[in-house]
């Protein structure tokens, strides 16, 4: 922990507001957990394995709890910079409602429980992947990359991209290429998504000394990289339709959404989003002049990823078979 964090926690007075049970729930980042559960469930369902429903439910629960544990460890370590940013200063530790040591204890305990239970309920490959994901997010991303390099969310994005692979491994005990394709989709989606947000919250990150891309390399470079990553991301997002993973619904959604994603990324590239770093900020997610395009991309990126994974789930639910591209070529 940094000196600032140590000072802020060791000398922090006992809060006038006692910790409530839901403060501990907040430490688990429930919104992140819900996205993790959604993508992990997609991986598990796409594996097309006959897994006992109870064990499948427990496996998804383990992934959710593991994600929550990562969130708690992240809030423990980042308490100092969380207190400096408007987006995060309302969190339980900066607000003084929860002691940072409690967040550490909760994170470690839940990590151990979730990994152990995953090993029992599913298999030890999935448990190992879950342990790796928690460690990668808490140690590699939070403690190292986040404060050190503007590539923090690029490399750190691997932690957020692993849940579908864990879900797949839980169902089958294997990690085939299609599982890693789901990983690649989230991994390549993360930079344009996170940097679009960073373009209009640059001041917050700069204040906290976090070297997000717009802070470290400037807005113009970030806009260019958003476009480049989008050019790579969209074909990869469509790829499952040709690898025996997605069907006609997936192909339609991924192609139409991908085209819109590229259009929005192009608009961000042509805009002045992020240039107005010193301009008057209009609330937490207030949009500075020229940043509307970045906000549009950020919002659509969430919708697009959700639709991609939802189409895979819907196809499985209604029994829509994946496209047989090899067969089509053969004919």
């Amino acid at each position: 922990m940094t000196d600032t964090a140590a000072a802020s926690t060791s000398t922090a007075p006992v809060s006038a507001v006692p910790a409530r049970w839901n403060d501990y729930i907040a430490l688990l980042k429930p919104r992140v957990m819900s996205l993790v559960v959604f993508t992990a469930l997609t991986g598990l369902v796409c594996a097309r394995a006959s897994m006992n429903p109870t064990l499948a439910l427990v496996a998804v629960l383990c992934i959710a709890v593991g994600a929550g544990a990562s969130g708690s460890l992240n809030m423990w370590y980042d308490a100092d910079i969380d207190g400096l940013m408007r987006r995060t200063r309302g969190r339980p530790i900066p607000m003084g409602r929860v002691q940072s040591a409690d967040a550490l204890g909760l994170g470690v305990t839940l990590s151990l429980f979730s990994v152990m239970l995953m090993g029992m309920a599913a298999n030890w490959l999935a448990a190992g992947l879950l342990a790796f994901t928690i460690l990668f997010y808490a140690v590699v991303y939070t403690m190292w990359l986040k404060r050190w390099t503007p590539q923090n969310i690029v490399i750190g994005g691997a932690a957020g991209a692993l849940p579908p692979v864990i879900g797949w491994a839980a169902a089958t005990g294997t990690m085939p290429l299609n599982a890693w394709l789901l990983f690649a989709i989230i991994f390549l989606w993360t930079p344009p998504h996170s940097w679009a947000l960073a373009l209009y919250t640059t001041g917050d990150y700069a204040k906290a000394g976090v070297p997000m891309m717009p802070v470290a390399k400037g807005a113009a470079s970030t806009r260019k990289q958003i476009l480049l990553y989008s050019l790579v991301f969209t074909p990869v997002a469509i790829a499952p339709a040709f690898t025996g993973l997605g069907g006609p619904l997936y192909l339609t959604v991924s192609a139409a959404g991908g085209a819109l994603f590229l259009l929005l990324a192009w608009r961000v590239f042509r805009s002045r989003a992020g240039d107005d770093v010193n301009g008057a900020e209009k609330g937490l997610y207030g949009v500075k002049a020229g940043s509307k395009d970045a906000r549009n991309l950020f919002a659509f990126s969430i919708l697009y990823l959700t639709l991609l994974f939802a189409s895979l789930l819907v196809e499985r639910a209604i029994g829509l078979e994946p496209l047989d591209v090899a067969g089509m070529i053969g004919r």
Partner: protein, 52 residues
Amino acid sequence: MKQPNAFNESDEAAKARRKRSLALGIGLAVFVVIIFVVTLVKLQGHVLDQHF
């Protein structure tokens, strides 16, 4: 502010602590039940796999 209790904490803090303890207890109970159910499901699978 009301009188502090035996733990030198306010009524509000004591109430919050009781709720936290209750949540922790429920969490642990749920964990035990999950372990029990997982064990049963695993055992059932292995028993059904036996060929006599």
